[in-house]
Symmetry: C2
């Protein structure tokens, strides 16, 4: 499978439109089961607050995964990400209500590399906080 | 693998000593992931109470599984259960504290069948309630 985005059609500095990813408590319960990380800070409000957190928070890797999904959805190929790294700069707090939380991810093509690859710098926010910083993916276009 | 309990050494009417199985909220989160049953009554206290339950309750199949585990642990063979059926007579309520809940399972060998099989009738209780009734397993001994 190849990316649907073509290298020749993108330019450095180009923005990738933001996508909102809703997060509900059930997503964290699912992620706990899938990842094997059952730390109660990700599903137990009483416990989360008892250790000083504002509420239940998302797994860092769950948040990072939304950034990865943003890039692969944009590129049109789940295998397009060649390199991906982030710094976890703030928590995604997930209230127990119908709204839950929202992770908003956007990106900018920072640089065009050789071999039809580009560097995408991501921004991920939730509420008033930037939840990923120094988030950078090298993406194989076609 | 064959059962470690020998058919010739058991008698009808013989009791199988009770075993206590602790249940904590995390076990239900794990069971949700493993079973794919993410109904919030099994992990969200607010939701459980909003639909009239006393608190988070265990999945029925989780409770049933403890009865199965009791029988296979006793028989010494995970494949010893030939036939198994229960009626769910009460809920296992799982408080969010260090104690959680306890499911206490005990059994009686009700009948010796042919082919080295026995009928085990199980009793499963949690708190003041009988949580499984008409619980009956046919078990292959050796």
């Amino acid at each position: 499978m190849a990316a649907t985005v073509k290298y020749d059609e993108v330019t450095a500095g180009q923005e990738i439109p933001a996508v909102e990813y809703p997060v509900h408590r059930v997503n964290l319960v699912m992620y706990a089961g899938a990842s094997g990380d059952f730390n109660p800070i990700h599903w137990n409000e009483r416990f989360a607050k008892s250790v000083g957190l504002p509420d239940v928070i998302a797994h860092g890797m769950f948040t990072m995964a939304q950034g990865g999904r943003f890039v692969t959805d944009w590129a049109g190929d789940p295998a397009a990400v060649v390199d991906y790294g982030v710094r976890f700069s703030s928590m995604v707090v997930v209230p127990d209500d119908d709204n839950g939380a929202v992770i908003t991810v956007s990106g900018v093509i920072e640089e065009k590399l050789e071999d039809k690859r580009v560097v995408v710098v991501l921004t991920a926010r939730s509420g008033d906080s930037r939840v990923l910083s120094k988030a950078r993916a090298v993406v194989q276009l076609s």
